[in-house]
Subunit: 350 residues, 2 copies
């Protein structure tokens, strides 16, 4: 069971995105949330930007000042023996990690789910002391009461936290605060209450005691979360042997909650996509799980890019023809689309 790539992939590339200021260039547009609003498909994309000019003496790390909201640089000595720039995403200096880019969230709209118009300005940009290194990897959940809940990673010198925001219209936003402290990311809220409470998948860092996996948390009000339960972890000897994390918000089907997730393998660090099927009434019960991945990096735009060999989904849309449109980040560089039949996928899991 393999998802079918759209032949026009990638559907959005860095060159399709206007930089948010003259000082920066877009190095990646990836890991989009997705939601269908009537005839319109909306993607909320992570846009990563780095300083346009490279300084020969200093590695300039972009950070957003939480007071002025302006972009500043942390300058680290490029020739220091204490600096490590081997990972394109990171600068490690004296044991501390910095990011080479700062991310904001940007909207794109489409009539056919394949051709998108990208808005010219950020929709949600770093704004608080917990977001100075950027906001990343959004998921959108459309609640029954009409609100949209956006879950994203807030990154700063305080670590990577899970933050929520709500919007009725993608024009006005209200931040609901840091709902899970560091190190935590890849949170996705279920679209309805289960047993009277909101439910959220998240991925705390369980190392060095265990491998990082997917947990569930519960809430009455979306602000305060508790009753944390381990749901699923890495599986030795498989495609998801190193770590796994939630992808898109779970989709309600008559067979259970269907959750597309990502997993990485221990040796290769290749990121693939798989699926979990959870009990409708007790989502802590895993009914089924992909033995083989649904999608793995083979296309050139997946195996080459800012961070190679990654397919990473944050948004899935169930279309009226029974097909799932999976929007995914390819190599932390561009956005691609793959589709899969919902019934076939469920059959393959059971």
């Amino acid at each position: 069971m393999e998802a079918i790539r759209y032949e026009g992939n990638p559907i959005i590339r860095p060159e399709d995105v206007e930089p948010s200021s003259e000082a920066v260039r877009v190095v990646g547009v990836f890991n989009p949330a997705a939601v269908q609003l009537g005839e319109e498909t909306i993607l909320l994309m992570r846009v990563a930007e780095s300083f346009r000019e490279v300084d020969p003496n200093w590695v300039r790390v972009p950070v957003v000042d939480p007071i002025s909201r302006e972009l500043r640089a942390i300058c680290l000595p490029r020739s220091s023996p204490d600096i490590d720039v081997s990972d394109p995403r990171l600068v490690v200096y004296r044991g501390r990690v910095y990011l080479t880019s700062v991310s904001h969230l940007r909207l794109a709209r489409s009539r056919d789910g394949r051709h998108f118009d990208v808005e010219r300005h950020p929709m949600l940009a770093p704004d608080t002391a917990y977001e100075t290194y950027g906001i990343e990897d959004p998921r959108i959940t459309h609640l029954a009461d009409g609100r949209f809940i956006i879950s994203f990673s807030a990154v700063s010198e305080h670590g990577v936290c899970v933050e929520l925001a709500e919007t009725p219209d993608f024009a006005n936003f209200r931040r609901l605060g840091i709902v899970l402290p560091p190190e935590n990311r890849n949170a996705a809220v279920f679209p309805e209450k289960i047993g009277g409470r909101y439910v959220m998948m998240h991925r705390p860092n369980s190392e060095p005691f265990g491998s990082s996996g997917i947990w569930l948390a519960f809430s009455d009000d979306l602000v305060h979360w508790g009753d944390h339960r381990f749901l699923a972890g890495a599986r030795p000897g498989t495609w998801d042997s190193a770590r796994i994390g939630a992808g898109a918000p779970p989709l309600k089907t008559r067979h259970g909650w269907l959750a597309i997730y990502h997993g990485a393998a221990l040796e290769s660090n290749t990121y693939c996509l798989g699926a979990l099927l959870l009990d409708l009434h007790d989502p802590t019960r895993v009914l089924a799980r992909s033995r083989e991945p649904l999608l793995w990096p083979v296309a050139p735009y997946e195996t080459q890019g800012f961070y190679p060999n990654v397919v990473f989904a944050c948004g899935v849309i169930h279309r009226s023809n029974g097909r799932l449109y999976v929007y995914y980040g390819a190599a932390d560089h561009a956005i691609a689309l793959a589709e899969i039949g919902l019934d076939e996928l469920i059959d393959s899991l059971r």
Copy 2:
């Protein structure tokens, strides 16, 4: 400003504690919570136990089976090149961390706050899938409604989590679940609601982006927590340059919330005690902080033991004579007592 050690220290040693079964020996009794109930001082102590017999071929890691609640052993090959037993607290095998002991919580009672009778059996023992490696470092908060809230670390293959339990009488307990996912520990609940919500200090692991520090979280019901805020972190070049964490639950004074905390230094990894003074109405505001530690390891029972050069407080009692009795773990081995005048301490901070 230095706390004064009680001349009869340590007040409780491993040999004062009955092992919980014939298979184990007590390797440490330390990091006690403390609460005053009328004339009686109660300590809730962490008791660490290892297997009595040492196997020449296998390192036997004690774990509690979450179904049968019996003690089992994970056997790791002692002569493997992949094993690291250099830290007495841990076994590192193929990148995974295990503990050399499993901890439970045990009660001790005293009439004078100095001489304690230790109960013969555990009060709270590992019981769930999140506690298989033990439960550690309790804090007790006496709420205005009469309930006692116990915050402790639950350790397992899923990592180190913050868990709460409540009891009206130290005989009947109700677990409130995992309130903060891994890696998190050193949680302490404030004794009353502030601004309508319960408040808790906790210490998530912010590495590698930052150093681990003290955060606050807020709750309506003690089960669901949110609105996480960074409160205070490590200070470069000082006695608390590596990491800090909450000690005893904060004490209400007319000058602010007084919180005894622990800090470790980067190079030496020596654990000392200091104090924070927080605004009574807005505890996210730090009013004052110890420039020098109040207590640092110098006594033989602090510099030698299971894990040397540690003083670590989880319980402080404000006695009627205006003195603070600070109960602390010494070298992860024994329990000691130091005292300090409340007014002098506050004066030294301001």
